[in-house]
Symmetry: D3
Subunit: 241 residues, 6 copies
């Protein structure tokens, strides 16, 4: 049922940490992908650093009173078992149907994820016991917080399956980059292309920003006309000075 989790090259992680989520969406848009930003994934705490990692997916369906009980927490298909399968460095991506009135995890499960070296938690749902979750130090992106346990609204059904998270299709091992603007998905098959294009896009937009700060007007600059393109190419040829 579950797809095996894969490692992510450390160099890719390092490079992408210097690229904003916005730049990733611009690069993917140029490749025809418009639906890659996970709606509702806001930082739980201010100042959470940008993270990059493979998606480790978890899937919920709605609660049914005969299934979603505290007793279910001990079943073989449980959030507990899923967490014990998470590799260090992954980003847990939890499809929670956008549910905002039942928290998928509280302090105990987040503490265990932190112990296992999970890089972060991203969900279109909410967490519970926000004070406790913040205390664990696990970086979380979500819609907010709610007191009730997951079983009040959700039934856990599996991990490392394709999921819907925030209106985006996330497959196991797709790459997630998340920062203050929320989480974006890079399809695993497009990773190398995206990394290369993103670094260039980031450099180019930084150059534009410098021009604007020096008083340049926008038309002809962004996007650049021939003259400005030549100036940018000279800047690049000069080693970015």
């Amino acid at each position: 049922m579950s797809i095996e989790s894969l490692p992510l090259d450390a160099g890719v992680v390092e490079t992408l940490r210097g690229v904003s989520s916005g730049t990733i969406t611009t690069v993917l848009l140029k490749k025809g992908l418009r639906n890659v930003w996970l709606r509702g994934t806001r930082p739980l705490a201010p100042g959470q650093p940008r993270l990059v990692g493979r998606a480790f997916t978890l899937r919920f369906v709605p609660a049914r009173e005969d299934l979603a009980t505290p007793a279910s927490w001990g079943s073989p298909i449980s959030t507990r078992a899923a967490i014990e399968s998470m590799p260090a460095g992954c980003i847990a991506v939890v499809g929670a149907l956008g549910t905002t009135d039942a928290g998928i995890f509280g302090d105990i499960l987040c503490a265990r994820m932190q112990k296992r070296g999970v890089a972060g938690l991203v969900t279109d749902g909410v967490v519970r016991d926000v004070a406790g979750v913040l205390g664990t130090g696990l970086p979380v992106w979500c819609q907010g917080t709610a007191a009730p346990p997951s079983v009040a609204g959700l039934t856990f059904v599996g991990w490392q399956e394709p999921i819907d998270c925030g209106g985006v299709a996330v497959f196991p091992n797709d790459v997630i980059l998340v920062d203050q603007d929320g989480a974006v998905l890079i399809p695993a098959a497009l990773l190398d292309d995206v990394v290369a294009a993103a670094v260039e896009q980031e450099r180019f937009e930084n150059w534009i920003m410098c021009q604007v700060e020096q008083g340049a007007v926008l038309p002809g600059l962004y996007p650049p006309n021939e003259e400005n393109l030549a100036k940018y190419k000279a800047y690049v040829a000069n080693g970015g000075k």
Copy 2:
């Protein structure tokens, strides 16, 4: 990935065809289940008969331009392959994320389901080419109709898995009863209990309705006080006369 589909006892089908979806929800509520009615499952055509069958589930996630293309229709994990796995008499239950701007199926797929003896199609999404779908004769319960194909909004990812349909958790082989009030789910494990209680509940409410038609007042009748309970028991003892 897929759970094997099971047959449903013909006697159970026959018995439940005489029970309304409303009665099933009353019976399940008394057992503590409040979330068993699939939101958004309205009859596509007037006069569609009540249907009873095992759920054969299909699951969609949102569209991603690199995945949800016309080319994907030929992949091994496709709606086409799923349909060819459906047993006669099942009810196809399609979790479509409540999407109303892309039709899950049109006339061609519905025609094939009809050929295979599928009893009916239930979804929290919509169909496309409504004239064509009606022409196939397949009974459909859904939110309505939309012109765009599924790949404009959805990616198909599997069948016979647990799904969310209309805010209800549907597991493969749960029993579905659907009529003019929409689709209700009977958990497979509770089937026998529900059948017995539903027949009695139906008889009891019919008797109440007769009393009201004869001018009885509601308090003391529905729910019944001791006197009315005795009258009802006498009616039952007398063979329902």
Copy 3:
């Protein structure tokens, strides 16, 4: 707790039966009232006639498992007791929080209302057992149909109180007019003014419609310039010919 229900003058009922809900909203808008149309109040069956009557209000709050049980149907504050308090000719207006996944009433309660001479049922919620409800002959305006009983989503708390129905404040004894465009409210205190203005507005718009059918252009006609106003006045002076 409950405000006493009042009769409505038969002449007023007769007069307003000749006025459309649209005309009432135009008249009230001219008096500064923009929020008088009860959202979600659609005819359950085609061809239901226009109705006029005093509002008899019922109020629900959300379900709570310790309160909203089948047993609650027998409590003194119950929908049953409320129905037995409804006077003939009233229009039952039920504030159901816009709930679409639990039916406020089914065939039994509607049959009893019909027996008591209730003119019609208006709600921002839904009914259950739509076949049965249609069989009672009680005219119903609502959002549609759902199988589950009210207690699956709602708790009944009282009648003849001010309520929210479809985003409109309805007070006991306000006047309701409902037709194919849904239900509009006439505040009790404004009734006489509205009746007089509505009859005139209806006559005026009928005259406009005749002009359009004869090929008149809209500018200068609707609203009328001096020339057209004079023509209309002559038409009225001539007894409407």
Copy 4:
């Protein structure tokens, strides 16, 4: 402010009348356009025929009490003036912000549009006085009906401007095709390409449907493998027999 309206070639209209809205969306998806179906545009009456025409756009913003008054109906920028500018054969496409509690037009304005030879009315809002509107014979696609006048919720600001209708960008003179599945937009610049591809797609899907009716299985047929593609080509070469 307003863009001049253009005629549409009669041959194109004739050809497209034989193509379903669903086929148009499939053809446009293959060209990379996924957002061309106007949400909320349902037929007001059963059996309305398929229509094809240039979009004549109207634009509303929300109501403001100082602007949206009955008096505003006489201003130079009014729905009345817009209607008098509509050419015969156009399809009026009205961006109403998805408003469902104020009708954009009633019987009088629809009667005048019918008189002018407007082919049909498409809106993401609702109409008022549904009985009267149906009486005019003007085909309407919308979200439903409401009693209040447009000024209760909307302010009219102009015509033949780019608009949002049902979440789709409609520019004046884009082509609209509308049938039982609702309204789809064909960008004016893509018209010729779409017409050619749509006729072929329609023929191809009809052939598929025949195969399914004769018992063919879906995999390999839809989309076709080489064998089935060859069969289809033979069918076409044989003049469609």
Copy 5:
């Protein structure tokens, strides 16, 4: 019309101040209550302390221009009169229909509540003049802030009645506990049972959290197997050491 407000035992307040809202929902779920968390009740300011008190309820219906005017603020049924009826230590729970574009109260009313010793304000609506409200020091849980006064969207109709707040049925004198995860309701009739179970649940989860911090894995711990249950019992027997 209004139910008398009751005091709450100081010992209960003291005990519950040591229990999180999350724990209360877990305890109530075990008793079958899943709908006790008031949606939309977020802390207005960071760091607001946990509060416990009886609910003093206020009820709004939608605005109607003939009723919801500045003049209405002086009527006998007014928010002003309601505030003067609030006992010290109560928690004002205001059912505002989830309205987010009209503030129920501003600085003046909140200042008066603070003067009267009201413990806090909880609503599914919003407040206005957020700077002023924060200045009063009254702790507030709500959906946010809006500039317009309540009468722009709401009509006040009474206090100490059953209400809907955030999709939960709140009856006068039910107990409210509110902290960073929002407000939960404890039905008055269940108070003693809940207090006892909540203290034990809190102790148990704290013990689990310690185990996780020491590196324990989740399966077998949460929920505990026999071995871990024995360890926990020993810990309790040892006085929680």
Copy 6:
């Protein structure tokens, strides 16, 4: 297509900076305007000062893949051209259809607006690259942040046209006042009346607040009875002491 932008009297700006958005809505409500608060316009950063200025409007419609491309950023009708038309001191009001999954502007465009002396940016949409936008120092009111560029969800179509922003009709050169409670609109034609009334309303509410802080009860004070009105008049006559 575009309406010329007008200056705003410096004295008016100065005076209105001392008036809260809440007071403006109270003053406008007394003139019959209830829909003047732009929903979803929250401060992006804490502590943004109150701003007053003429509205410079921008209008988007939904994205269409053939129109909303990176290439479109260079067209004559572009956000870039619009920004270069903004006068110093204006408040840019951007109608973004309430879109929350595509940012209208990022750091580059906001930096350019800041350079041009634009007072602030108000939108019912979101911005992207929140860290960069905050770095520019431009005060922004919006619904939040999203990574994708505007063209992922929106098409820019013009400036200085009437728009919908947050459910409010904004016309070019209407006056906007925005503070911690969000943005309110003052119709240009009502400006002088509103300024005069707002200053008085602000003074009056401040006096009320002082009375409450000194322990006054609300009934008879707010709104004031004759006695309190006399006290207030004496206070005013005494120069506000």
